[in-house]
Every structure is written in C-alpha cells, then in structure tokens.
C-alpha cells in the first residue's frame, strides 16, 4: 500500500522534473519577450534599453526599474509599479521622462472585473490620456478626487489604482534622479 503510493509519487515527480527542465527555457524566453514588448511600448523609440532590472526602495517597497540611455545620457526610466485594484494587484510598467513627464503606460498583469475594470488594459481613450502626462501641471488623480485623470465608466476603483500606480512610478523616478546626482 505505502509502496504503491510511494512508487506513483516517484514516477510523477520524475515526469514533472523532466517537463520542468524542458519548459524552463521557453518560459523564461516568453517572459523576457513579454517584458521587452512592454518596454518597447512605454519607452521612446530612440535610445538603448538596458534589459537588466535594477532596484530601488521607495516608501517601504522595492521597485524594479529599467533605464534607457541615448548617447550615454539617461533619457527615460521604466518602473514596474503595483497597486491594489478592485480584484487584486494591478501591475503597470510606466515610462517616465525627465521632469516627471509620463511617456506611456502598459498593464503587465491585473485581476480586474472583465467588461469593467479590465478595460484598463484595452480602452485606448483611458490609456492614451497618460501619454505625455505632465505631472508638473496636472495631477495624477481621478476627477472625482479632484485630479485630471478621466476614469473608466463604472470603474473608479480600478482607475484610481491605475493613477496611483503611475503617480508612484513618477515619484520613484524622482528619487532615482536625486540619488544619481
């Protein structure tokens, strides 16, 4: 009885080990490709992107970021920023230029309600408002909270989280710049 269960478990773990070893490479490849795609969306076309992640601590949380350089000068940062949304963490990649101007944003993962909050990934009118969003003149808050972000209809919580994630990314970049100087 015990021998049978042990035998089955041994065979199964051997199979899993094999499949894991076989798929390790493609899985890493797929996630690297997804990251590069996201970086291409949120950063300007010209310049070199360093695909090595760097880390900085801000407000008690560890942020992952990527640097884009043009002729050895840093021109843009891409920060991975996660905030609790309606259904779970909403993780964005935010491209930020010097002076706190948002270049573009992209959703990396979310668990928002399909048909409502999930539109933060697809609705162009919502996503595009962050392109070139200048934080020195506009406020990264939804209009309901007195800011300049147009929320997705019936998804204020998701929109609020999105704006907060972008806002955090901008603050992180500000800190990165301060530390470098």
């Amino acid at each position: 009885m015990a021998a049978c269960l042990t035998g089955v478990c041994l065979v199964c773990s051997a199979i899993l080990g094999g499949v894991y070893a076989m798929t390790k490479e493609p899985i890493e490849e797929a996630s690297r490709k997804a990251l590069l795609e996201a970086l291409a969306v949120v950063l300007p076309a010209e310049g070199e992107v360093n695909p090595e992640a760097q880390f900085i601590e801000f407000d008690g949380k560890n942020y992952e970021y990527y640097v884009q350089t043009l002729d050895t000068a840093v021109v843009c940062w891409a920060v991975k920023s996660a905030v609790g949304g309606f259904g779970g963490p909403l993780t964005l990649l935010v491209g930020v230029e010097k002076g706190g101007v948002v270049h573009a944003t992209r959703v990396l993962s979310h668990s928002e309600t399909p048909g409502l909050g999930a539109k933060c990934e697809t609705e162009a009118s919502f996503i595009d408002q962050f392109k070139g969003f200048d934080t020195s003149v506009k406020s990264l808050k939804v209009r309901k909270d007195g800011g300049d972000v147009d929320a997705i209809t019936a998804s204020t919580i998701t929109s609020r989280a999105y704006a907060e994630a972008v806002s955090n990314a901008v603050k992180v970049v500000k800190k990165i710049q301060e530390e470098v100087q």
């Binding site: 009885m1 049978c4 269960l5 199964c12 899985i27 797929a30 997804a34 048909g115 209809t153």
Partner: protein
C-alpha cells in the same frame, strides 16, 4: 455499450455541466467570454483524457485504501504538466486562465470520471469517456461563454456587433448563475424529449 455511445453519452445524457452539474467553479468563473470558456474546456479535456487513460491502466494494481491519493497525484501531475506547457508555449492564454488551470486538480469531473469510469474500465474505453465528457464540458462552457459575451459585451468570440457596453451584470458573477440556470432548464427540457 458501444464505443460510439461512450462518447455521445458525455454530450447529452451525462453532460457534465447541465446534467451531472460537476465542476461548477471553473464553469461559472471562466465563462466571461466564449473564447475563455472554450480554452478552459479544452484544458480540462486534455487532463481528463490523459488521467483517465493512466488511471484505467494502474487501477488494477492500486490497493483500495490508497486509490484516491494515487488518483489525485496522477491528476495533479497532468495539471502541472499542462500548466508548464501553457506557460511556455501559449503565455497569452495562460495569462487569462491563470489561476483556474491549477484548480483543474480539484475539478470534480476529473476525479469523478476516474472513480466512476476509469477505475473500472479498460484504457480505450476510458480514453473515449474522457473525450466524450471533455467535449461535453467544452461545448457547455463555450455555450455559456457565448451567451454571456453576447449579453454582457455585445460580441461573439471577440467580434463586436453592438457598439458600446452590454448588460454588464452578465459578465460578472450574478450573470454566470443566471445564464447557467436558464441554460440548464432549456437543456434538460430539450434532452427529455
């Protein structure tokens, strides 16, 4: 029982969703659109066929006292294999179904078929049973997904025919129960004839 009727039985007489009413968690949760329902159905079918075959082969030598743990280990192995393969080769699909793939392990249909059918029948019949029940499950999920997507988003398989929003409640949990309930009534009414 003829080989053919083993397959067709899973479609109507023992339809896992509308007649046996098994595996409700993924059914209600993943059918927010037709495509999601179809993908979830296919993923479950993959596990169902393979676990049915393996379990029918090992059942004669597994002592009665440990047969449930052994079945669960076999099922869990196939689910993890599926999860790794999906992550590696279809990351987009994996991103939408994500959490519900590991949950196939506890889907009552898979263990239910192992207990009720594969444990007592040969490998070929068990494979056919897996195909039949799998197709029944996939079709049911796709139909629920189609109805919810039409009412909730005004589209079918992502093809939009009504501009703007649909009745949003149908994309969310309450809509899942409503659509499921009405389809179950309709299905059983038609199947009885």
């Amino acid at each position: 029982m003829s080989k053919f009727s083993i397959i067709t039985r899973g479609l109507v007489k023992e339809n896992p969703t509308f007649v046996l009413v098994l595996g409700m968690c993924p059914t209600l949760a993943t059918t927010t659109s037709a495509m999601n329902g179809l993908e979830m159905g296919l993923a479950t079918m993959f596990v169902l066929i393979l676990s049915n075959i393996v379990i029918s082969l090992i059942a004669p030598v597994v002592p009665d006292k440990v047969h449930i743990p052994v079945y669960i280990v076999v099922i869990a192995t196939f689910v993890t294999v599926l999860q790794l393969l999906m992550q590696a080769y279809v990351p987009q699909v994996y991103a939408t179904l994500g959490l519900f793939i590991p949950l196939i392990v506890v889907n009552c249909i898979v263990l239910g078929r192992a207990e009720a059918f594969a444990g007592k029948n040969g490998a070929l019949d068990s494979a056919l049973d897996g195909i039949g029940i799998g197709i029944g499950f996939t079709l049911s999920l796709t139909v629920i997904g189609v109805v919810r997507e039409i009412l909730g988003s005004g589209s079918v398989f992502g093809w939009k025919f009504i501009a703007g929003d649909g009745i949003l409640a149908f994309v969310m949990a309450p809509g899942a129960f409503l659509v499921m309930g009405y389809l179950m009534v309709l299905f059983n009414k038609l199947a009885k004839k």
